[in-house]
Amino acid sequence: MSNQNGTILSVNDLKTYFQTEDGIVKAVDGISFELKKGETLGIVGESGSGKSVTNLSVMRLIPEPPGKIVNGDIVFDGIDVRTLPMEEVRHLRGKRMAMIFQDPMTSLNPFLKISTQLMEVTQLHLGHSKREAYDHAVDMLRTVGIPAPEKRVDNYPHEFSGGMRQRVMIAMALSCKPELLIADEPTTALDVTIQAQILELIKELKSEQGTSVIFITHDLGVVAGMTDKIIVMYAGKVFESAPTGELFKNPANPYTKGLLKSVPDPAHEEGEDLYQIPGLPPDVANLPPGCPFAERCERTEEICTQEFPPFVQINENHHSLCHFAKEVHAESAGGNA
């Protein structure tokens, strides 16, 4: 069970495909990453990049059919999750690995009291009695900062605001002190002041409980302050992976650079046109040969439309999927010097 190098999750060459009318959609096509204990990984990408499917695969939540994990290893604390019987997956989910979703209204059952929904988790996984589970539910609500938890625990989801519902979701996810927490766009549906509260809460809980976190988002601002390392996904592939500081400072992939530049920065800018990545994200069912980003990329050369790019190692922890990764990295390093 125990692991010398402290790795809690390793995903290797994961491929999750979906059978659709338009053919096979390679939603996730050869993703690898490692997460150490207590570490936070950010997965950044636009809609359709495969960031959510990656994590649904880790949780074995891919609907089959039409989806299928066709290749790769998912190892959680020494356990091979991909081949684990469903019965045992259920013992992992909720207890040792938990997930928070974007929309807290659709992920809570509107017909059940919050207490019922929270108690279910610990009764199932920790064998709590009703009384213990109820007390634990109240404690958890207090931990996530819900005022008057003794009263609120018997409310229904609609009686909570969006931010409070997300707190309930976090309370539920953390009920069994999971070792891995996957947060899929947990603040996208929330207002900025509430987003700040929730991000702060996740940070606090992480440092108290030592939970490892995977943070999925399209917002580079959110990952900048929350994560130790980041992978950037595009068209089902990892385009770049690096420690957070390095990725923001010296990106080695034109797509990452474009994303960083297209975020308006209130601090320094004079109202000039914002950098924009031209064109649209590709149709994953009909990917062109060569680099999937080639037709939107500002430094495309002939080779980009013909050959699939290599995953170039820049340094020990920094990789980029680009024919010109080293040059791009050198340029951004030069630009910052």
């Binding site: 636009e46 809609s47 005022p147 605001s161 969006g162 931010g163 409070m164 207002d191 900025v192 002041t193 509430i194 987003q195 700040a196 509260q197 991000l199 702060e200 399209h218 917002d219 580079l220 601002g221 959110v222 900048a224 302050g225 957070t244 500081g245 923001f248 474009g258 994303l259 960083l260 297209s262 975020v263 308006p264 920065d265 209130p266 601090a267 800018e269 109202g271 046109d273 914002l274 950098y275 924009q276 990545i277 031209p278 649209l280 994200p281």
Partner: protein, 346 residues
């Protein structure tokens, strides 16, 4: 409020939009209700001007009334009190037939490019509808106008026979913009036009809106909860909280030195895409949620969440006053001599 030189396109004076939720009647009393009339003061006395060719950004959290304010400007929701002037005409009190004439000049872009386009109409009909409705053209010439508009917003002319579902979110938003432009308006309310789009597409739409503004001398009210986007596109920014404007200033001023405690908190809550800045930043984390706009807090609406609130804040209603040149804020604890709330509070 600001200098009234001739080129104000839109002027709001003490604009109010209330929604009556009922209550307070005989049956409420006998069924044990509170007996209090429940009124949502979505927009509660808003005064500002928008100049020709300007973009005014309007930011605030959900439920603050920013969308209702935008709709009221086009009279898409009944106005309860005050005045909404467009070129000297009070939109609130125009007859319906006169209002219809004005709609040519006042248009809207919506947040959700999926819900705001009729799925059973072709792009040609969606963009052409206002042109036909107002009799600007007929027959073949409508098609020509539609194709020109499509080109203006960066869509291929060949797509004219296609349906909305054949387009991506960003392209649909372009269709919505083309429709808003069809009548050659002067003023456009853009209600969260980029919130539903991917990051790389958001930049495209913001740039398109900027170009169109320069080309056609458009005036925008840009409503959004995304402060980074608002800062980027706006000349001036108004911050709204529970139906009231709490701060109004030029974009750069409001970001470099926000004066109102709520603006301060709002701006500090925006994550910066730079890990080094993030690591050093001190955030003002507000406690609690935005209170219900049904019977909002007395005095300053923000006092229940304000870290600097004193007893007076519960009773005194603050007014929007000029604290620094062209920088207005509504907080009773600051004034022109003591503009910094942190220093005032000690």
């Amino acid at each position: 409020m600001s200098e009234t030189n001739g080129n104000n396109l839109i002027s709001l004076e003490d604009l109010k939009v209330y929604f009556d939720l009922g209550g307070g009647g005989f049956f409420d009393k006998i069924t044990g209700g509170s007996g209090e009339k429940r009124i949502v003061k979505a927009v509660d006395g808003v005064t500002f001007d928008i100049k020709e060719g300007e973009t005014l950004g309007l930011v605030g959290e959900s439920g603050c009334g920013k969308s209702t304010l935008g709709k009221a400007l086009l009279r898409l929701t009944p106005i309860t009190g005050g005045r909404a002037m467009y070129r000297g005409k009070d939109i609130a009190h125009l007859r319906d037939s006169d209002m219809r004439e004005q709609r040519k000049h006042l248009q809207m872009i919506f947040q959700d490019p999926y819900a705001s386009l009729n799925p059973r109409m072709t792009v040609g009909n969606i963009i052409g509808e206002p042109i036909r409705n107002f009799g600007l053209a007929d027959g073949k010439s409508v098609e020509k106008m539609v194709q020109d508009l499509m080109e203006t917003v960066g869509l291929s002319r060949r797509f004219i026979k296609r349906y909305p579902h054949e387009f991506s979110g960003g392209q649909r938003q372009r269709i919505g913009i083309a429709r808003a432009l069809a009548l050659d308006p002067e003023f456009i309310v853009a209600d969260e036009p980029i919130s539903a789009l991917d990051v790389s597409i958001q930049a495209q739409i913001m740039n398109l809106m900027n170009e169109l503004q320069k080309e056609k001398n458009l005036t925008y009210l840009f409503i959004s909860h995304d402060l980074r986007a608002v800062r980027h596109v706006s000349d001036r920014v108004a911050v709204m909280y529970l139906g009231e404007i709490v701060e109004l200033a030029e974009g750069k001023d409001i970001y470099s030195e926000p004066l109102h405690p709520y603006s301060k908190a709002l701006i500090s809550a925006v994550p910066v895409p730079d890990p080094e800045i993030e690591a050093e930043r001190r955030r003002v984390i507000l406690t609690g949620d935005v209170p219900s706009p049904i019977n909002p807090p007395t005095g300053c609406h923000f006092h229940t969440r304000c870290p600097y609130a004193i007893d007076d804040c519960k009773t005194t209603e603050p007014k929007l006053v000029e604290i620094k040149p062209r920088h207005y804020s509504s907080c009773i604890r600051i004034d022109a001599d003591n503009p910094n709330i942190e220093e005032v509070a000690g």
